[in-house]
Symmetry: C2
Subunit: 369 residues, 2 copies
């Protein structure tokens, strides 16, 4: 947030800032989704929906698991939420009581720490490095496990690292959680945004996992605030009550809009955009070495590259500050994502077009020369 504020101040002063810090796709919401919203404004009631979401949307989401992943999900287990933020909060409300520890990778999506703390839980940060793709493994979890662990959060693809967890590892982690009586929460918020591999869901190998997903990233509906989760059948009623109390329901216009998200015409637009993101990633991975930034793990998802900048600086926060002011390039310093060598890392979001990405790398190169 501080980087964004400073970047906006520079822009107001007339500077051309390249934003590589923004975790938001630069594509507009696909036309068919906006069209569906427009039709809903004309025709639909815009009152509260059931707490778990519009029934046809829950069915459409279940259909997506069947069509895209070959996984059978009962629509009754699908919970439509006001953004995946609300889904993460619900999951913490369900699976972390006061004093419970929630294990998560470090680096991690920063809100995960805050959600755990908000409900009185304790974030248990497990340092992860390049050797495991910055991801948790069953072995890392076994080493980190303490008796107070009530839940594990795995993110695939991950923010900030853009890496995925392979199905075999998800299966092994799920087995461990089952043995130890902990919930496995899988953040699939960037599901669909993968390159050179097929999209996956943890539900294929861990049907009892709590899976969290989003219409924001792949479906490019950020401002609409809509996500979903799939929960075990025996949790549905408790999740429903908690949802009713916490937020009543997800936004109704967004739910109607999202009914068009899985239509073939929409998916064609989204797949084309996925191809563009893949090209950007490749351009960035080619250009970054010349800046002195090292990419230790080739990212294959989301729209992030997690860079080791220890070759060019002692302190990534100072580096981000310097590059913003000297090169007008905004990056996110590692300290946003945890406590595991944050000074050695920055996150780059490729939510800019290829010429801007090339220009950003050229500016960084020049500034650090």
């Amino acid at each position: 947030m501080e980087v964004l504020d400073a970047a906006q101040r520079l822009e107001r002063a007339g500077h051309d800032v390249i934003h590589l810090e923004v975790g938001e796709p630069d594509f507009p919401t696909p036309g068919p989704i906006v069209e569906a919203a427009r039709a809903a404004l004309d025709d639909a009631g815009l009152g509260y929906t059931p707490a778990l979401g519009l029934p046809p949307l829950r069915e459409a989401i279940a259909g997506h698991y069947r069509d895209a992943f070959g996984v059978d999900v009962d629509p009754a287990r699908v919970v439509v939420t006001p953004g995946s933020s609300a889904a993460l909060l619900l999951a913490m409300g369900m699976y972390a009581d006061a004093g419970d520890r929630v294990l998560m990778a470090d680096p991690t999506y920063p809100c995960n720490r805050h959600f755990a703390t908000f409900v009185g839980g304790v974030p248990g940060l497990v340092p992860t490095g390049a050797e495991t793709g910055y991801q948790l493994t069953r072995a890392l979890l076994e080493d980190a496990w303490t008796p107070d662990v009530s839940a594990v959060i795995v993110a695939s693809p991950s923010n900030p690292t853009g890496t995925c967890v392979d199905a075999g590892e998800v299966r092994a982690i799920a087995e461990l959680c089952r043995q130890r009586g902990a919930a496995l929460i899988v953040d699939e918020i960037y599901q669909g945004l993968v390159y050179g591999r097929d999209p996956e869901t943890a539900l294929a190998v861990a049907p009892d996992a709590v899976v969290i997903s989003s219409f924001s990233k792949y479906f490019q509906m950020t401002g609409w605030r809509l996500g979903w989760m799939v929960v075990p059948e025996d949790a549905v009623r408790d999740v429903e009550k908690l949802a009713q109390n916490l937020y009543i329901c997800a936004p109704t216009p967004a739910q109607h809009a999202a009914l068009a998200a899985f239509a073939p015409g929409t998916l064609a637009i989204l797949e084309e955009r996925r191809g563009i993101l893949a090209q950007r990633r490749d351009v960035l991975l080619d250009a970054l070495p010349s800046t002195g930034f090292r990419v230790r793990v080739r990212p294959d998802g989301a729209f992030y590259v997690y860079c080791d900048v220890s070759g060019v600086c002692d302190d990534s926060f100072a580096l981000a500050h310097r590059l913003l002011h000297e090169a007008h390039v905004a990056l996110t310093p590692g300290r946003d994502f945890g406590f595991n060598r944050p000074g050695e890392h920055v996150r780059i979001a490729y939510t800019q077009d290829i010429p801007r990405l090339r220009e950003a790398c050229a500016r960084i190169r020049a500034a650090l020369a």
Copy 2:
């Protein structure tokens, strides 16, 4: 929720159920608001907004305090939220740490208890009766105060009682909170829906209160999920960080729509509807005595009548069940709202037109004859 489920089952079986349990206005969202949403779908970016909300909307809300209440509010203190649910959650996150007690009237809006518990706080229910309009007073709070109190919630107009707190009492409560170092949170979610009195805001007499409001009730935008809060200046930065972590931002289409909420044409529609609600209230207050339901305090706000049913039953939950199945009239039993003589009370929502309200009273009368 159980009443609603049972009522819907009866409807599916072909029965004509009169819904007096629904806390949602039966008017559609006013045309100018829907129009503004439509224009936003055409023209506006639909990405994330700043966590505190679209700046023009924050200014419009501040303008509303000036125009409708003659109260000066810096737009910087206005926080646009995804429903007032999120505002209540933010307020609890800000003002209730683990073990802190949050005093609130009993009967109360049920979610308030859950919000307090969710963050590890303790709901401190203060029984309130007809003699104080079911509202907290400074004297009641002084009697109930314990050293662990960190916040007080006052609701005016109140759900479920439809009663308001007078400005003098708000001022006295604010003074007490200030002396004891507790936050005063004023739920003004039903602001504007008052009958035979002028709308008020606690900010007129307690400028340091945390005031929570909503676009759902007076502005009839329930499904859009949009509310706001006004916080003290020194809390803004912390609320911003918490909002960013908890939900990123309020729904963008709804924020654009709400820009039309304070336009004269919209307010004219809303004031006409307020007149209709006032008529319904009067019809209900005239008809209820013949059913045996007693209204001990004349409600002057929201769209609720809180009825004493001790003259016709021993148990309001059993009564609600019986009236649903024998008269096909759905009411909310007192136990939804707390532990203070819940068996003696039901809540009636006049979110139905006058003929239906008359019919409901006739059915209740016949069933209890």
